[in-house]
Amino acid sequence: MNAIQVDHLRRVFTTNVGRFRRESKEVVAVDDVSFAVGDGELFGLLGPNGAGKTTTVKMLTTLLIPTSGSARVGGFDVEHESQKISSTIGFIFGGERGLYWRLSGIDNLRYFASLYHVEPAVAAKRIPYLLDLVGLKDRGNEKVEGYSRGMKQRLHIARALIHDPQILFLDEPTIGLDPVGARELRLVIRNLQAEKKTILLTTHYMFEADMLCQRIAVIDKGNIVALDTPEELKKLVLDLSVIEVEVFGVQDDLLEKIRKQKFVDNVSVENRDQRQILTVQTPRGSEAIPDLMAIFDGRRVGKVTSREPTLEDAYVRLVGGDA
């Protein structure tokens, strides 16, 4: 039996628009999603903002009822057996909310330990262990309102683990963390993986998914567009090379012009301070550089490099440069 089994899951949100003549508008957050996660597997769900990652996780953690389709977690149906699922799962959603800021870290853990029916003697041992695991051993008695964002994220992890669940849902756990905090959190996730926990991780950091996940599903516009191991996903772009061009204030019309070139497979832009990095995927490799430069037509260009494709390039190809 799979730890998580998802079959044709769909979720539609209804919102009201208009001030005087209010009309209902339907938004499809998850269209048709199916996948399975084995026991002890670390499974990644990748996708751009609004792709349906968090909605999928909320349905699997019983916090949202699917519009159609079905999902089983730990063998129980997410819609009709939510009470049976509750003690077998732990979850965290990225961000600082979800903790009692006027209480200490220890009191937050004590409270959730009791709500998750952890025996007091077990909780008394587990709370110091978890605080140590997430690097908050010396700050547990302080009020959460004084914690940094990273500390709150780590306390969230401890909270999710307080009842020692077998299945964990980590929704963008490293978002907003500084590089050191994010690295420490990834180490915690690795340790959990070593403990044979089943983990569903959502992220849009490719290197994070590449480093941690055994299999990855790429979700875009509410549908799974690819599902495989990171190595196999990288093979999707073996026919391509990547040219990175440092530019300063790139215009939309120029991007469109590059996109229309026959030798260009995909283009994406990443902002870095005052400059942008234009990433062009092409089957022609470095041979395409002169043709590419010709399109810039004298505009200011910085460093130009050519490299082998990564998982991120496979992802960009799959989601069409929306990342």
């Binding site: 949100f13 909320k58 953690t61 019983t62 916090l63 949202l64 009822i65 939510s82 009470q83 509750s86 003690s87 799962i89 979850f91 959603f93 961000g95 909310r97 979800g98 903790l99 009692y100 800021w101 006027r102 209480l103 009191d107 004590r110 409270y111 959730f112 009791s114 709500l115 998750y116 029916h117 007091p120 909270r159």
Partner: protein
Amino acid sequence: MTLKTIKAYARAVAITFEITLRQNFSDAFIIFAVIVQPMIIAILALWMLRDIGGDIGIFVIVGSGLTGLWSGLLFISGNSITGERWVGTLEGLVASPTPMAVIVFGKNLANVFQSLASMIASYIAVALLFDLRITIEQPWLFAASLLVTVVAFICFGLIMAGLFVINPAFAQFQNGLEFPIYILAGFLFPIAMLPGWTTPISYVLAPYWAAVALHGSATGSVPPAEIGFAWLMMLVFSLVYVLASGRIFRIVLRKARVDATLSMQ
């Protein structure tokens, strides 16, 4: 339900009680509504009514204590689910194996317990300022009335927490509900002073029966049989509230999972 589950729920109620009290005591609004405001009401009422004489002192203290209980119930217990949503903790509570009704029960217990402190605060303020010696005529009946009142208010809070979530229109009238109940339930003066058509409304309010039992036993002005009847009414209402709240919580939580309103996006 197994003994192990009952013990787990009892522990959940106990820690919710503790956590809620600790959080409330660091909230200035709650301190004002539950402790300071009843004290002001007690002082003003006694100052206005002191020439009447008789047992007005204890009537005012019990009445102002009831105002604290009601304000606490209305603003704290009524918001006990929506408040968790505002701070982003509702998802964690709903996803836990402890039913939401058990958690809200623990919160209401803390709120009612804290509100009782307002009665003591009013007693001290009035005794010091007006140099009054205040006696409770039927202390055992008063203690029992207080216990039944606590049960009735906790159960009433369960209903309100659910209703405020299921229909935001209830929450919009939250401020407007504070003083009418003070008056309709006879906290500060007997309902006999009100127009006759309001009496049936008073009879369906558990706080009215609480006021009858507490005022009656404190002043000795009501026969024990009538106090017993007030207890019966409070317990009947409590049973109705508990049964209704179980259904309301199921509807509320199902609706929140359908409408995606467990968290504020």
